[in-house]
């Protein structure tokens, strides 16, 4: 490709020496080789946000800071209607049918389009949504909902108990291929409709997490007319009863919602009644962190979700922006250890890994101080969290070494321990969300004589690798406002094809988890989950890392935005100052 070749090519052509074919061949080499290379690199590396993990699961830990969960509150009197808000998301939803999509980012959009039966307030309590009253039977097998009347879907059809029945049946219908909502319904059996305002939801077994699930947009009530008319079109043309109506979706570009002028059934957790203030909300998609931030700073958008840790401090101290932060309940960022693959089959090894991990260093150094260490499988704000986990395995590098030494793991010439001919080598299917601290963790474990082999992969490949026990560990995090999420990760029935990557099968733990899922008494559930957490920590099935902080950066001109219990944005009260 140097001047010689090009010159020779040109002269060969001009003098008729070469055929057109050989010239084209040479030119092809030049043209393809150079631009081709950057594309290859792009495909390999770069940000791969956890699309496949999807769901209410989020593997992108945010930054730290104090927990300010709402923008400056203006009294309702000062808020005037109008204004258009553009929000930058970090992913594009795959579809907006709550029965089908598993993505947290879909939930972000759907919260505005659909109403749930009940809302969960910031304090964790349930308040009326589309249901004015609800009552669980004493055996926990059914819930009777008394529904609001005079509520309409965006297509003009009336909301009633049949719509509730349809929505729930649609979720469990195998043809819907539910990505996540079916999980929230658990042992759902059917719904009975006695009159337009009464719906009785019946379960095969008691299901304690139901109300929490019913408060999420994944169980938002859909218009039966619209879904029945064309289910496939509904995926991209959602109809609900929410305070915003769907307007359009330009693929890979934006989704636009407009105010629902008929909305007057808002919940008590919001600051005002009637319709929303904003005329329009548009969602744009930026998978690249720096671009998203640039979009905020240049005014392309006025609200972004997820600010990189390295930029968080700067944006927080800029008065042009308000930053909302909050830790998401559920599973924090943790490493799950496969108990069926050596050397993590050994309890001593798993405990040593916990002692060897310096979470504080990870948080302060790799995460720019933008998070808080986690000490157990549940984040502290999750209902059912047991404080007892905090006393396990404080960081102690020398203790890690001692524990291993005593168990017969002797350090070799290169500092890595071995026992009975087996090298203390742990493999990790690492995903981009862990890039910030991967090498730091490797260095920490090395001090204890453990070799951590980092295998970089996309999220989909990483999940498959740990599922098939091709690696010892993988990271996971999962947003959940109910401790039942522990069943997803630790119930033995979820070992094949599910997320129980530790593959630890213990009938006692299974019993506890199943009982806790059926117990309707909060205190009893907390007790049972407390015991589960104790088993998990006793067996050192995981290495807890840090809490997942949601960070939202909003132009200060927009006020009234709050983070809900699960740290999604509530836009109903949003208005321009």
């Amino acid at each position: 490709m140097d001047e010689q070749t090009n010159g020779a090519a040109a002269s060969g052509w001009a003098s008729g020496q070469w055929s057109r074919r050989s010239l084209l061949r040479r030119a092809a080499v030049v043209a393809i080789a150079v631009p081709g290379i950057p594309t290859l690199l792009a495909a390999c590396g770069g940000q791969t946000p956890s699309t496949s993990g999807g769901g209410a699961q989020s593997t992108s830990a945010g930054s730290s800071g104090s927990s300010s969960a709402s923008t400056a509150a203006t009294s309702a009197a000062n808020a005037k209607p109008g204004g258009s808000l553009v929000i930058g998301l970090n992913l594009e939803p795959d579809n907006l049918d709550p029965a089908v999509t598993p993505f947290a980012v879909s939930h972000t959009v759907m919260m505005n389009i659909y109403d749930p039966l009940v809302w969960r307030g910031d304090d964790g309590n349930f308040v009326p949504g589309l249901a004015d009253k609800w009552e669980a039977s004493s055996d926990g097998l059914n819930y009777s909902f008394t529904l609001k009347s005079n509520v309409k879907f965006h297509d003009g059809t009336a909301f009633n108990a049949d719509a509730v029945k349809f929505t729930l049946d649609h979720i469990v219908d195998p043809a819907s291929h539910s990505g996540f909502a079916a999980n929230l319904l658990g042992p759902y059996d059917h719904t009975e409709v006695s009159d337009p305002t009464t719906a009785k939801v019946v379960f095969k077994q008691p299901f304690a997490p139901f109300l929490d699930g019913a408060s999420q947009a994944f169980l938002g009530i859909v218009s039966p007319t619209a879904v029945q008319k064309d289910g496939k079109a509904f995926l991209r043309n959602p109809i609900g009863t929410g305070f915003m109506k769907f307007k359009e979706w330009a693929e890979k570009d934006h989704i636009t919602l407009v105010r629902n002028p008929d909305y007057n059934w808002s919940a008590s957790i919001f600051a005002h009644k009637g319709t929303a203030y904003l005329d329009q909300v548009t969602f744009r998609f930026y998978t690249d962190d720096p671009t998203r931030l640039a979009a905020l700073e240049s005014g392309d958008v006025q609200d972004i979700e997820t600010i990189a840790y390295s930029d968080l401090q700067r944006i927080k101290s800029d008065s042009k922006y308000t930053v909302l932060t909050g830790y998401t309940p559920g599973i924090p960022a943790i490493l799950m250890l496969d108990t069926t693959k050596a050397p993590t089959t050994d309890l001593t090894v798993r405990q040593a890994l916990n002692y060897a991990t310096d979470r504080n260093a990870i948080v302060t150094t790799a995460l720019f101080g933008a998070s808080t260490p986690a000490t157990g499988p549940l984040w502290s704000s999750t209902p059912g969290y047991s404080k007892a986990v905090e006393s396990y395995y404080p960081h102690d590098a020398s203790k890690a070494g001692q524990v291993l030494q005593q168990a017969g793991w002797v350090a070799g010439a290169d500092g890595i321990r071995a026992k009975g001919g087996q090298r203390l080598s742990v493999t990790w299917s690492e995903t981009p969300s862990a890039d910030a601290y991967a090498e730091l963790l490797q260095a920490q474990w090395r001090q204890a004589g453990v070799e951590l082999q980092i295998q970089k992969m996309t999220t989909a490949a990483a999940f498959q690798a740990i599922e098939k026990s091709q690696v010892n560990t993988a990271t996971i995090g999962w947003i959940s406002s109910d401790p039942v999420i522990l069943s997803n990760l630790f119930l033995s029935t979820n070992i094949n094809g599910g997320y129980a990557w530790t593959k630890y099968a213990n009938s006692q733990m299974d019993d506890l988890l199943n009982q806790a899922q059926r117990a309707l008494d909060e205190a009893q559930r907390a007790n049972l989950y407390g015991q589960v957490q104790k088993i998990i920590m006793d067996q050192a099935l995981i290495v807890p890392l840090y809490g997942q902080l949601r960070t939202i950066g909003i132009l200060s001109k927009f006020q009234g935005i709050k983070l809900d219990f699960r740290r999604y944005q509530w836009l109903f009260d949003a208005h321009t100052a």
């Binding site: 001047e3 195998p174 291929h177 999980n183 671009t291 700073e297 240049s298 490949a461 999940f463 498959q464």
Partner: protein, 305 residues
């Protein structure tokens, strides 16, 4: 000429078949399972996952799946697993945006590249020559995502002259087109320079000068026109690459386009969408190549098909 075109069109078919088979095989060999991704957190049992896999036809033998795929694609019925929308309409919906970007960056690259190349060729081995080659060389060395972020920071955030992201308006086209163009300028400039230098050695140039033609006419009307063929070849091949979607630029600038379509589909293991989109890209590539070849007949009257 018509016969030639017909022959070329027929020759496309085996190429496309081969591409489709290769793509089909490749995506099956990479790890990740689309049904798992779809149903991952629904609490679906292994039996349910198997059921969905059966419904989507993913448990049939590969050759059967391949034939079904071809049949569906040709009738426009093939649907993306993730969005359930027809693959063909997804591709065609995003193609105009990529086409816009490709054309805009080609225009910029051609203008700059030819200018630099001609300048260098007509002042060989002077500072003009060295400078233009250095500038174009820098262009191809700079990583495009870095340049993209730099331009966004400078023009969108600091100066606020241009929007940072998105597609649709011509103002949003400027920065992405520039980033893409910068990399092509080097290739074009060097080829133009070399080509022109050779052309300027020819005897007919001496004749033209002897006739008393102004130097400008000598360079442009005679030397440049004869140097054009290799340049057109390069442009044709480059345009094909651009049309397949300059992925990084689309991602960084959050522009809709088929590059992003394909990358997102690959990550979601959305087999039908990946296969369909790559196949359609191959068609575009082949058509552009054909047009490039046909343009030779226009540029050089000596060439007959």
């Amino acid at each position: 000429m018509a016969q030639y075109v017909a022959r070329r069109l027929v020759a496309m078919v085996p190429v496309l078949l081969l591409v489709s088979i290769l793509v089909f095989l490749m995506i099956y060999l990479t790890p990740g399972d689309p049904v798992q991704i779809m149903l991952g957190q629904s609490g679906a049992s292994a039996a349910q996952v198997a059921q969905v896999r059966h419904e989507l036809g993913l448990d049939r033998p590969l050759p059967v799946q391949y034939l079904k795929f071809l049949e569906n694609l040709l009738s426009g019925q093939e649907r993306s697993i993730a969005t359930q929308q027809p693959v063909v309409s997804e591709f065609l919906g995003l193609f105009p945006s990529t086409l816009q970007l490709a054309m805009a960056s080609l225009v910029i690259a051609v203008a700059l590249g030819i200018a630099l190349g001609v300048l260098a060729a007509t002042h060989p081995r002077t500072w003009v020559d060295y400078l233009s080659m250095a500038v174009s060389f820098m262009g191809v060395s700079v990583p495009n995502f870095w340049l993209a972020l730099l331009l966004i920071y400078l023009f969108a955030v600091q100066l606020n002259w241009l929007p940072a992201t998105g597609g649709g308006s011509w103002r949003q086209l400027v920065l992405p087109a520039v980033v893409l163009a910068v990399q092509q300028v080097a290739l074009i400039a060097r080829l133009v320079r070399a080509s022109m230098l050779e052309a300027l050695q020819e005897d007919y140039i001496k004749t033209a000068r002897a006739k008393g033609l102004p130097e400008r006419a000598v360079r442009l009307r005679h030397a440049f026109r004869n140097a054009l063929l290799p340049i057109v070849t390069l442009l044709g091949l480059n345009f094909g690459y651009l049309l397949s979607g300059a992925v990084i630029v689309e991602i960084v600038f959050a522009r809709p386009g088929i590059g992003r379509l394909i990358v997102d589909a690959i990550q979601a293991k959305d087999f039908p969408l990946v296969q369909g989109a790559i196949l359609m890209t191959a068609v575009v590539y082949l058509v552009v190549n054909l047009l490039t070849d046909l343009s030779y007949a226009v540029i050089d009257p000596r060439i007959r098909y």
